[in-house]
């Protein structure tokens, strides 16, 4: 239990597996997902390992499956999800069956595809021919009919004597004799439509205008058999004279990938050919349909199983990859593995191993040995769906050092809280909470949908953070009394108007006086008084004073909490000296200076104010505790640090906030400053002393490594830290001290971002209200209704996109910084490495993602 507070205790184990049982055992461990195997042959390259062949076979199977999947996708056949449980990793002998199945399927599919392609090509040719015959018919008809129109040279040439040449022209083939008589011959073909202009130009240039091109578009698109795209084509017919031109024209046609078709001369021949083509097309259609049907049947059958097969193959591959990490025993009888295991789970792992042995039918049980090691174990925090998002926020900064305090459990609340301090608005918080709640409520269906968008996945992964951030923002919004920049008056304001009508009539702006009947003398019970929202003139002055103070108060508490965490680390790792020379001076320094400042704020809140029965009294005793005498905390604090004593400029008032303040402050500052050398020299001093002592006693290997600072659980690695150079220790400690001392100042100031962001958020919300919605609400009549309708849309869009999304993002980032830098720097090292167990679940997940 409680592994989130500290990472799990890990042990290094040695595992002896019988060769026959190894596969089954590893498969069981993969289902369990609690064991991280170490590579025992790091110098052996991937091709020289024992199970290369198996891995290669798996790769081949995977390739075939991917091919199948691609074909299934192309036909748009739905792939069945695996119902219920994932299939277990199959036995090694099943691998052969699987291989055979895939081989057969692939071959079948390839054959079908080849046939289909050949048929389609055939079909395309025939359709093109059909179109050519049809279109050229038109050209020839024109020639015969309108023979005497002389529009162009070429035209005239062709139509010169139609009756004579028609008999001789035949599909571009003709003998020399005829060419001598300048009888035009022609070629007909089909070309891609977009190539026509270039084709025409080329023909014109290459043949110097001695050819005549006619073209007609084919209306219906044709299917390209190789890519199965729909393409538009055109029929063309070129008339020319002479062999030279013929070769040239043919070359050009070839170059433009035009397909040429024989086209008979005589109309009767053409008609006959067209008839033949039509019947052949019909025949082809039936054959094609049958081929498609067959292909579809094969794919549908495969689609039922493909996901299942993928899982199986990936599991086999993962097992062999793991087995490759193992060492072979000298006798070749058993495999040796080394693995990191959570100490608490040894029992379950033993059970899984026993199951594996039973399944493989081997009689020798596997042996799991604990090993002693000097290495740092991996960090493993058991998380659930709720805590994992927060744990990831921490891991994004750095993985915790083995067994150090994990900030994640505290982050669950402090993160949304600090966010909400900056984002405090009941309305915006509610929007965010509703969105977060919806994602949590619809968790299962949304997860099953597997939406691919990266932004969505970020939101969905952080759904619990969003929900909590929304809820806390609603609370802080209630306290700030801000709902879309308006206030709620639930308990009744504590402020009253006591001005009479004539005063009100003659003054535009009037200030209520807290030291009078205007203020009922007890504050609004929950949150900020709604009257401040109405006080446009000095609302910001009041809110700034309030928000700046709470930022510092929250910040100092947060940092003190962080320093206290370091105490748990010191105690756990048995660094007793660090408690005295690091933790105590650190907490003293922070408390004496900054927590004292927080106390001053509380003193100021309680001490200075109105004195109910004696409103506006001049009695010096009463004036001393009135608002008139209230000192500035900042000035007081600065003076305290400088040991300066400013005489109060207001003669009636006291110089100090309480009796003996000067003395106490001086004492605090001196004590805090004395903490610095302790932090700086304390640890190096003790280390030096210890080294001397050991030098005197001679080396003793297993002594109090505890004094030194590294892991108490694993005492051994501390051994070499003993001998590290003392100057290095000094430098290290110096850096840490400077970082801490300067850090406390700058980190305290850094918490003022809570104030800045919340001010910005409130102001932006107010601007959005005043500039947009207010204008809409002030309009009257039915046009006003329409206007409000439009304005509301604009206001809502700005509220969601800028105030919730953008401001939310910026507040999120600032919160992240406050946690990573201001909070975690006090105790968190983050120098560990993550426990990555061998788990089928993880492997299948990542394989599924890369595939998409």
């Amino acid at each position: 239990m409680g592994s989130l507070f500290r990472s799990e205790e890990m042990t290094l184990c040695q595992l002896f597996l019988q060769s026959e049982a190894a596969y089954a055992c590893v498969s069981e461990l993969g289902e369990l997902g609690l064991v991280q195997f170490r590579d025992l042959n790091p110098d052996v390259n991937a091709f020289q390992r024992k199970f290369v062949n198996e891995v290669r076979r798996c790769d081949e199977m995977e390739r075939k499956l991917r091919y199948l999947e691609k074909e299934i996708r192309r036909d748009g056949i739905p792939m069945l999800e695996i119902p219920g449980e994932c299939p277990e990793a199959p036995q090694p002998r099943e691998m052969i069956d699987l291989e055979a199945t895939f081989e057969k399927l692939e071959n079948e599919l390839r054959e079908v595809n080849q046939n289909a392609e050949a048929l389609k090509r055939n079909y395309l040719e025939l359709t093109e021919l059909k179109h050519i015959l049809r279109k050229t018919q038109v050209f020839f008809d024109e020639h015969e009919g309108g023979a005497n129109t002389t529009e162009s040279m070429t035209r005239a040439l062709i139509s010169d004597d139609p009756n004579r040449h028609i008999g001789h022209v035949q599909l571009g083939l003709r003998d020399k004799q005829e060419s001598l008589e300048f009888l035009p011959c022609f070629v007909a073909g089909v070309i891609l439509r977009e190539r026509i202009p270039a084709f025409e130009r080329m023909l014109w240039r290459a043949c110097r205008g001695n050819v005549f091109l006619r073209q007609a578009e084919i209306d219906t698109p044709l299917e390209d058999p190789s890519s199965s795209d729909q393409v538009y084509k055109s029929v063309f017919i070129i008339f020319f004279q002479g062999d030279q031109l013929k070769t040239r024209v043919k070359k050009i046609c070839e170059g433009f990938r035009a397909t040429l078709y024989p086209c008979p001369e005589a109309p009767a021949d053409r008609r006959e050919m067209a008839m033949g083509v039509m019947t052949r097309i019909e025949d082809l259609n039936t054959v094609l349909g049958q081929t498609q049907d067959h292909r579809h049947r094969v794919l549908v059958a495969a689609a039922k199983n493909i996901k299942n097969w993928f899982v199986k193959v990936r599991k086999i591959k993962a097992i062999y990859h793991t087995l490759n990490l193992f060492n072979l025993d000298v006798t070749q009888k058993c495999l040796i593995a080394e693995c990191w295991v959570p100490a608490l789970d040894l029992e379950t792992i033993q059970l899984a191993l026993r199951r594996g042995t039973e399944r493989s039918g081997s009689s020798v049980p596997p042996i799991l040995n604990r090993m002693e090691t000097l290495e740092d174990p991996p960090t493993y925090n058991r998380t659930n769906k709720f805590t994992s998002a927060f744990q990831n926020l921490i891991y994004a900064y750095g993985v915790a050092t083995y067994r150090e305090v994990n900030p994640a459990p505290y982050t669950i609340i402090t993160f949304p809280f600090l966010f909400a301090v900056m984002f405090g608005d009941l309305g915006h918080g509610a929007l965010m909470a509703v969105f977060g709640f919806w994602m949590c409520y619809k968790e299962k269906p949304l997860q099953a949908k597997k939406i691919d968008s990266e932004i969505w996945n970020i939101f969905f992964g952080g759904r619990y953070i969003i929900l909590l951030m929304g809820l806390f923002s609603m609370y802080t919004g209630l306290i700030y009394n801000d709902i879309f920049s308006k206030s709620l008056n639930i308990f009744g304001s504590s402020w009253r108007n006591n001005y009479n009508e004539s005063t009100l009539a003659s003054n535009k702006l009037l200030q209520l006086n807290p030291d009078s009947e205007d203020y009922v003398q007890t504050p609004y019970p929950f949150g900020i008084d709604p009257v401040w929202q109405l006080a446009e003139a000095n609302k910001i002055i009041f809110m700034n004073a309030y928000k700046m103070k709470i930022s510092i108060i929250i910040g100092v508490f947060h940092m003190l909490f962080g320093v206290c965490m370091s105490l748990w680390n010191h105690l756990y790792f048995k660094r007793r000296i660090s408690v005295y020379v690091e933790f105590i001076p650190q907490i003293l320094f922070l408390t004496l200076l900054f927590f004292y400042m927080v106390l001053l704020m509380f003193i100021k809140w309680t001490t200075y104010g109105s004195t109910p029965p004696y409103y506006g009294s001049d009695d010096p005793e009463i004036v001393k505790t009135s608002a008139y005498c209230a000192p500035s905390i900042l000035i007081t604090f600065i003076n305290m640090m400088l040991f300066k004593h400013d005489p109060n400029t207001r003669p009636v008032c006291d110089d100090t906030m309480y009796a003996g303040q000067m003395g106490i402050q001086k004492f605090f500052v001196i004590l805090a400053l004395l903490c610095v050398p302790v932090m700086l020299f304390g640890k190096p001093y003790f280390i030096m002393k210890e080294q001397k002592q050991r030098a005197r006693q001679g080396h003793q290997p297993v002594e109090g490594a505890a004094e030194n600072g590294t892991a108490g659980g694993a005492a051994a690695p501390a051994a070499h830290h003993h001998d590290e150079d003392i100057t290095e220790v000094f430098i290290h400690q110096g850096i840490h001290t400077i970082e801490y001392v300067l850090g406390s100042v700058s980190h305290t100031a850094s918490y003022l971002r809570l104030w800045a962001l919340s001010l910005a958020h409130a102001q932006l919300a107010e601007v959005a209200w005043n500039m947009l919605l207010r204008k809409g609400l002030m309009s009257t009549d039915y046009q006003g209704g329409i206007f409000l309708y439009i304005v509301f849309a604009g206001w809502a869009a700005i509220s969601v996109s800028i105030l919730v999304l953008m401001e939310g993002l910026s507040a999120f980032l600032h919160t992240l910084r406050l946690h990573w830098v201001e909070f975690q720097s006090k105790f968190y090292q983050g120098e560990g490495y993550l426990f990555q167990p061998f788990s089928f679940e993880v492997i299948l997940d990542s394989a599924g993602q890369t595939e998409e």
């Binding site: 609340i413 009253r496 807290p514 900020i528 008084d529 003139a537 009041f542 001490t607």
Partner: protein, 84 residues
Amino acid sequence: MGASFIPITVFTVLWGIVGIVCPFFAPKGPNRGIIQVVLMLTAATCWLFWLCAYMAQMNPLIGPRLNNETLIWMANTWGNKMGK
């Protein structure tokens, strides 16, 4: 000193119950520790935040500076009718 007994008690007891009493009744199981931390921190942060808002207003040093129209509206709706 501006403080009123009822709200301070009510909210302190409320958050006290959440932060001190509830953790004892957190469900047993592997997540008990987390639930306790969550409850305690929620109570602590929320109470502190409420307390700061309350104390900052206990003894106001300045009063709100309001428009005369707002003041008339206040007088009419929040009671305390204005004199002549």
